[in-house]
């Protein structure tokens, strides 16, 4: 422990910049996954064929081992290559599943009588989505973003293997040098980052869950099974 603190303070500048790289990787990837995943999740509640396709594809993506996915992406034109952009694509693909799934589950979990009441009062499809479905599903959707973020922070450490930087740099260095202190210099800040993100997003999910809404309890724990 003392070794670790000494190492971190001696390399303060580099630690901060690797930490920053890590944040950027995860931030962009989760941001992109939200931008793609939430609309996809909404679409999946509107059309049976889209539902099957979207949930199927995101499920399959999740089963590819992360190191293999980074490797597969290297030869892909435009998306691939060595470096941060490839890593961001891979992280985005991983972050999609929990976000799509929770958006879908959050909206599907709304009491059908409520959406029918909304329609019966004369809401258009768009008003139904904006005024009823998204607010009621918000807690569950944020719970999905929370899982996606925590997963991404972990997987982003592997991105160092394809030259994307981030705290994984220390982990791979430490492994090569058989030096536990260096491994921990990458792993401990990454773990602290994951815990912090988990805490903040968990709090947000609870706040956004209206009392008595579907998922009022499950949003505070984790993804809802579908």
């Amino acid at each position: 422990m003392g070794d670790l603190i000494r190492y971190l303070s001696a390399n303060r500048g580099q630690v901060v910049s690797l930490f920053g790289e890590h944040l950027v990787l995860v931030g962009i990837a989760v941001g992109a996954a939200v931008a793609i995943g939430v609309p996809l999740g909404i679409l999946a509640t509107r059309d049976r064929r889209i539902e099957v396709g979207v949930l199927g594809v995101t499920n399959v993506l999740q089963t590819i081992p992360s190191l293999a996915l980074f490797g597969f992406l290297i030869p892909v034109p435009l998306l691939g290559g060595i470096g941060a952009s490839t890593a961001i694509v891979a992280l985005t693909l991983y972050a999609l599943l929990p976000i799509v799934r929770n958006t879908h589950a959050g909206i599907r979990g709304i009491e059908p009588a409520l959406t029918e009441a909304a329609r019966g009062m004369g809401m258009t499809d768009r008003q139904l989505l904006a005024r009823v479905e998204l607010p009621l599903a918000a807690g569950v959707i944020v719970a999905g973003i929370r899982i996606a973020t925590v997963i991404s922070i972990g997987i982003a450490t592997i991105a160092a293997a394809i030259g994307a930087g981030g705290l994984g740099v220390y982990i791979f260095q430490g492994l090569a040098m058989v030096n536990d202190t260096v491994i921990l210099a990458g792993a401990v800040p990454a773990a602290l980052l994951a815990l912090t993100a988990d805490g903040i997003l968990g709090w947000l999910a609870r706040r956004l869950t209206p009392p008595g809404a579907p998922g009022a309890r499950s949003a505070t724990t984790a993804a809802r099974p579908t």
Binding site: E111, A113, L114, E116, A117, A118, R119, G120, M121, G122, M123, T124, Q127, V132, P135, L136, P210, P211, G212, A213
Partner: protein, 258 residues
């Protein structure tokens, strides 16, 4: 399209040979012909699955008829824009119909908000309606539905249905989840309110006691058909077996309650 005062004298809703079938061909409602007058309350009673709720949903186009036609305000519902039609028919269902993420104020003001009313006008209307249904606005407007009792929630539901002053109310077992005392209270208030405001109402329940208390006329539905319809005062003389079966529940109920 809106109602004019003149329209109120004719039927608020008219079913003409209306049928509704599921995609598998099973008929849920068949051969329904019924007119609800401009200031009349018609209550449909019957067992679960008799087609009562379906009949209601055919009025505001949550469902479209498979045959026959439904007219609202003298115009076939097929010619109405569904959204416009729904905004001028008040819709009350069991307590789940209140939006848990919105305050009482916003729940009640929802249809006026959708209609684009000014903020002050909505606030004034919400205030007026909450007081009308016996919930002082100062005390209740800012609360959320989960902070209300069942009876209070149901009063908010009625206030919400009245918000944009629709000439027609559709009510689907609105008081079903209430305890007997609250229920009797709110039934009385509801009847007075509807008569005072001159609304037409189509009301669905499985409780004959409620039907007789609220309806000007009471109709019995069985297996998708309207098998009898009588003025409330003469209902107990009705000879139809399903009406007799319902009437028999009254005696049992009376014995149990009193």
């Amino acid at each position: 399209m809106t109602y004019s005062e003149g329209n109120r004298e004719r039927s608020a809703v008219e079913f003409e040979g209306v049928g509704y079938a599921l995609p598998d061909g099973r008929w849920i409602v068949r051969g329904l012909s019924l007119a609800v007058g401009g200031r009349e309350t018609v209550v449909l009673v019957g067992r679960s699955g008799a087609g009562k709720t379906t009949a209601l949903k055919l009025v505001n186009r949550l469902l479209d008829p498979s045959e026959g036609r439904v007219e609202v305000g003298g115009t076939s519902t097929q010619e109405w824009d569904p959204v416009a039609l729904r905004r001028c028919t008040g819709w009350v269902i069991q307590e789940v119909g209140l939006f848990p993420h919105l305050s009482v104020r916003r729940n009640v003001g929802l249809v006026p908000e959708l209609l684009g009313w000014e903020r002050e006008r909505i606030d004034a209307r919400v205030h007026e309606l909450l007081n009308l249904v016996g919930l002082p606005a100062v005390e209740f407007a800012a609360r959320r539905p989960h902070q209300l009792s069942g009876g209070e929630r149901q009063r908010v539901g009625v206030a919400r249905a009245l918000a944009a002053d629709p000439p027609l109310l559709l009510l689907d077992e609105p008081f079903g989840a209430l305890d007997p005392i609250t229920r009797a209270e709110i039934q009385r208030e509801f009847r007075d309110l509807v008569h005072r405001l001159g609304k037409a109402a189509l009301f669905v329940t499985h409780d004959l006691r409620e039907a007789l208390a609220l309806g000007d006329r009471v109709g019995v539905m069985a297996a998708g058909r309207l098998v009898a319809i009588e003025p409330a005062g003469r209902f107990l003389e009705c000879e139809h077996p399903e009406a007799r079966a319902l009437a028999a529940t009254l005696n049992g109920g009376a014995g149990r309650d009193g």
